[in-house]
Symmetry: C2
Subunit: 321 residues, 2 copies
């Protein structure tokens, strides 16, 4: 939620002149995007987003992210599209940062998703996975099982500042995940960060999906495990099986699970909870009280992890009863 | 540059339903406004700003600010206008805060104003002053000469952390200002914070003036003294007489100075420099290094104050040569 890099009116006007967008009518830094700086720009051609990529995003990954958005949009998924300048470039530079102009997507994100929203999400996620099949580039998931131990060790014993005994609990969990993590599931491009604030709705319908800056190649079912964590728990940490059922049913109607995907979903959900727990613990321990971006509460994901550890079968998520 | 209060999609939709604006298509927190939280909202009726008034703005002042915008706009000054809901209310409440919907003003603010921009500013400021004459409400200027000593004393000896000897220098200056401050100048509604980021341009023309949350009744010429400080110095602290002349000439073409206004402008400019210096010193000493809003450099205004102290006549600002 911050503007990290200031852009002047002169820089912006010179930059926009290379596009077929007419003049700039206004631009405002917007308080979204933990990783990047975003400006909402009104041009004569309509509203657009100017994104400046800050240090946490690797520059060599940008062609993957931008190319993916263009590919998914061309395949019919509603998502922002990088605009090409007159020389055909999507990735440019402004104020010393890599930058791109992206089409603006109308819509609101839903603070308290209902089962109906979860059903819409399932269909959109399946569509994203199917649309991604033809995308030629690839990018490994740096935050999959192999990336968790370094994160765990970076926080170390200080993990217990979050909750007593958490360091040991996560150590045991990590061993289990490393030993039992499924490796032969159907693979493809996953969004990898499809939280409610990355899915826009207009009324009951999804108007689009945003923020592809964690997208990568991994097990498709892992993406739905992330969504189970992000969409199907209540504020009091209770799992809502109605929402999970809606999500899983609408997803599997468009892309049915293999038997193995069905069997390992609880393990994938534990892994997804672990992945977000580890980054939240790290951010919590390494962000000062008054930093620009407030860290998210790790304890929410401790409770989610424990819940999934108690799940014996995907039937308990509401699928295949 | 911050969003202090979060608004949910549900709160916003319920709020907007009371206006004739159609549905909400999108809303983004924008990183502008040191005092308030601002959202840029796309509605079916077009873009608008939703402002939530935070603690630094006194709620009892809001009818003055909102009424002034409505009055000035009706008088032909380009500025945002508070939108009334179906019951005729401009001031409402959302997320526990006083709030208003304001029309969105296209335009860019100029990071490095030219003499031409200063000329445009002069005419607009005169128009603002003339348009304000018929406004029935009034609000004293809490940050005029009577408000400076409490601010000075609140920072106290720590003022020397900004520059060696500054505490004593400002003490002497304050005595002079208190003794010689002119009190019989033509009065009216002044903007009182007309810095470049509050004036929007489209090409060479001013598209409007924003941020009336320091507006008050005071000497009209004091407003132009603020602009001399905010618009007519170069980044290296050199006074640019070409810009000042352009500003003063275009202003006085529309509203000529009285003889006394002409005579006391250097003293008003010293006072204006003092006013912004004192708040910057206070903010500098009372903001932690990682706060959401970074304080502005007080030393810029030390140099401006010293410059105006060296000025013997308004002729040195380029007027009446």
């Amino acid at each position: 939620m911050a503007v990290y890099t200031e852009v002047s009116d002169e820089e912006l006007s010179a930059f926009i002149a290379d596009y077929d967008l007419g003049n700039v009518l206004s631009f405002k830094g917007i308080a979204e995007g933990v990783e990047n700086t975003n400006y909402l720009i009104h041009t004569e051609a309509g509203p657009h987003i100017l994104t400046l990529y800050e240090k946490r995003v690797k520059e060599e990954d940008l062609p993957f992210f931008l190319g993916l958005m263009e590919h998914l949009s061309a395949s019919g998924l509603a998502c922002p599209v990088p605009v090409r300048d007159r020389e055909g470039r999507m990735l440019r530079e402004i104020a010393g940062r890599p930058a791109a102009i992206i089409t603006f997507l109308e819509g609101l994100w839903i603070r308290r998703p209902s089962a109906e929203h979860c059903a819409a999400l399932g269909a959109t996620l399946a569509k994203l996975h199917l649309s991604g099949q033809g995308f030629a580039m690839s990018r490994p998931n740096a935050l999959s099982v192999g990336g968790w131990r370094p994160l765990y060790e970076a926080s170390g014993k200080r993990t217990d500042e979050i909750a007593d005994g958490l360091y040991d609990e996560l150590g045991r969990e990590l061993k289990t995940l490393e030993a039992e993590w499924p490796r032969d599931l159907p693979q493809g491009v996953i969004h990898a960060d499809l939280f409610p604030d990355n899915v826009f709705f207009l009324g009951r319908n999804i108007s689009g999906v945003i923020d592809f800056y964690f997208a990568c190649n991994d097990a498709l079912a892992y993406d739905i495990a992330i969504c189970l964590n992000a969409w199907c728990f209540e504020p009091d940490a209770a799992f809502n099986i109605t929402k999970a059922r809606a999500l899983l049913r609408s997803y599997t109607e468009m892309r049915p699970f293999s038997k193995e995907e069905f069997d390992v979903l609880p393990m994938l959900a534990r892994g997804a909870a672990m992945r977000f727990l580890l980054t939240r613990v790290y951010d919590w321990l390494n962000t000062s009280a008054e930093a620009l971006v407030r860290p998210k509460d790790p304890n929410e994901y401790v409770r989610k992890l424990r819940f999934h550890r108690s799940v014996a079968s995907t039937r308990e998520y509401g699928l295949g009863e």
